[in-house]
Amino acid sequence: MDELLQEFIAETRETLDALSGEVVAWEADPTDRARLDSIFRFVHTVKGSCGFLDLPRLARLSHAAEDVLAAVRDGGRIPDTALVNAVLAIIDRIGELVEAIDAGVSLEDSSEDLLIAALAENAAPVAVTATAPQARSHSRSVRLGVDLLDRMMSGMSEMVLARNDLARRLREGDCDPRMEAALERLSLTVADMRETVTRTRMQTIDTLFSAVPRLVRDTAAELGKTVVLSIEGGDVELDREMIELMRDPLVHVIRNSIDHGIEAPADRAAAGKPMAGLMTVSARQSGNQILIDITDDGRGIDTDRLVAKARDQRLMPEEALRALSEDARCELVFHPGLSSRDTVTATSGRGVGMDIVRANVEHIGGRVILSNRPGKGLAVTLRVPLTLSILTTIIVAAGGQQFALARQSVDEIVKVRSNQVRIDRIGGVTMATVRGERLPVVGLSELLGLGVAAIDTLVLVSTRDGSYALAVDEVIDSEELVIKPAAPAVMATGVYAGQTLPDNGRPMLLLDGAGVATRAGLVFDRIAAIAPDETEAAADEKRGLLFDDLDGHRRVVPLAVIDRVETVPVAAIRFTAGRLRLASGDALVPVHATAAMAPDTTVSLLRLTDGAVDIAYAIGDAIEIVALPRDIAPAQGAGVIAGVVMIADEQVEVIDVHALFAATAGPSSGAQPLCLLHADAGGWMTNFLKPVIEASGYRCVTRLAPGETAAVALAMSDGGADRTGSAAPLVTLRAEREPTGPRDESIYRYDREALQAALMRSREAMV
């Protein structure tokens, strides 16, 4: 936070310096649109940063100024002298406050209301008492042009290559050990420098996320929806250039989510969801990739409607449509011209959107992954590499030559010899069947005119349009390479995405997976060529995550229930209120652990979800993803263990996720009946009673929201509260131990058993 604050101070201070000229010019000519715009931008930026940095006073000032300036921009206000003065007074005040924050002194805020009041129309001009400027403290940061950083970065790449060249030449001849030591030192320095220079290009993803709250608020307001936003992982670092390129796709996905995903409040209430939609935008790093998740709890993608539309627009043959898997149906949303909404809105629903998102993300070497839970929400994951300039590649050999292939376009590498793969020649084309999926085979060396080779190794390449199997002589290595564009004549072949110089000093061409498919004349029309019975078999095959549990046993859990695996400090998990709980953001997640965790360390957590409830399972080590055998030897009353399977000749316990959720998760929030408390004046109900009722699985409110019905209502016999407006059975509580008369059906307020029995009766009556 300190770092961000320093950055904010430096930036504001610098803009203020630059702005002083603009301010004077605007004062001289208030109609000057360009000046107005730059002042507006300034207060807007300050406002944005303040919200994030929690500087309420600055936020208030800048917000007020922004509103007025926005009105001026829209022509709603005339920039007269009074208004100009008032805005300038606020800008001055922002400057003073920033200096005060930097110097760590407080500034009395008595006059700020006056400053803001002065912005109002017809406000009396205020005499502003300027505070004495504080001495500036020395800044520890320097702002640099992006060009300079880019030049540093490319210089660094050259340096790495030059070092590799030198190393290679030294290896060729007999080398003096002293020379080798010097080279070793150089290598270390170069590696260190490379890391440092790379970091100068990194920014926290907060620069991208800071605009999200406003975007969500505005979009939701536009559509008459309420959305509760939670942002996580803002401190993840990403290449600056990447952040810029991610901006549009992110905005698009968020707007789409609010428009298409999250339902109108009334629909949500009808579906038994909270009125306010929940949206989570989070970022996390996984290897050298960044995953940005945009999750909502809306209606998800209506795949039936998508398919119907695809049929209307004759996107593909009927039988192909019918053969689509659920995932493939979902992916139709990426088809240009298909938008699942029937009506066109100003926000989205024009049918241009997801296809562009996907194109943009793939352009920078990323992928868009959808995880659709119809009726329950949609999670869109944007998976992008950390930086643009360094690419993780797979090196393949074909026709005696080596080529690189971007790692993210490679799904899998299979050997033809393995029994999972079958090669068929049908009508002059070669086809590979890999686990029930038929893929066209492209022989790389034949395609490139390097001769015909026997099919030995297949690299399964996925492109935007479809997947294919690229036959190569061998897969050599995986390497991180600095990719540069090749000469136009070489790029024009369409099969290359760039050139690179690996450490061995021999130039190499980077293949373009989609270009190779085009060159090979592949046409993808998404025909799922799986025979029906094979489909069933494939669908039946479940996969699981194999892991070592905390107690040392090896166990497996179905992959479908795993939301993610994360590492958290053990300190974040506490034994509170009878069970282990993880504090995750604002929420508490129940944790299941089979053994004690060592304090002051971190632990891996499987975050499991059944769609509505999240729980966490603390594990020792995740091992790998395996196919879950169908034969399970049932457990003999072993708690959350469903049984035992054989995986790789080893007995592995299968987690019974049903029992796990039953044992770990508390009452589900979705299905909680509502208990209306006719609150008494003393607050006894909310303070004493509410926790008891909530522990019995009820959700307590003191007032019904429109559209809600209570399952039961509670009132004090002497409460005197308004008990009308609810058709729910009423349970009356009295303060006295003994009933006041024979017809007194009320319950003594500390008689817990009677109270719970009454609640139970009302619940049965409801059913």
């Binding site: 060249d165 490139l448 136009p488 004549a489 072949t493 290359y496 130039p507």
Partner: protein, 142 residues
Amino acid sequence: MSEQYLMARIADRPVAIPTAQVESVIDLGDILPAPLAPPQVRGLVAIRSRVVTVIDTEVALGLPRSVHDRRRAVITAVDGHHYAILVESLDEVETLVAQPLSSGLVLGDGWRDCATGIVEHGGEPMLVLDLSAWIPAAALAA
């Protein structure tokens, strides 16, 4: 209007290359082919941590690919990319005056595109070349 020219031989003909176009002169190492690229693109070569595209001048001139394994090349930069133009041999740099191509002089196919004038050196006329004319443009190459 005198200019400096690098004297060279390409496809058995003496030529003059304006030194302004020449970044360096080098003997190339191993050339890595670039499959599917236009025929005059001989391949790629690494020169001082930079990947350079090699242009076979004889193929560019429409002649059959030379049996000689030529390694000597002139490095030139066009549109931010570096190219190595293969030459038969290189001579010294001379300051000469270029004259326009004589009217009525019809050059052979390949030469017509790249010649911009004539210089006389040692009593022998030689063509002045524009190296960039040999670089296959992206649009044409496909």
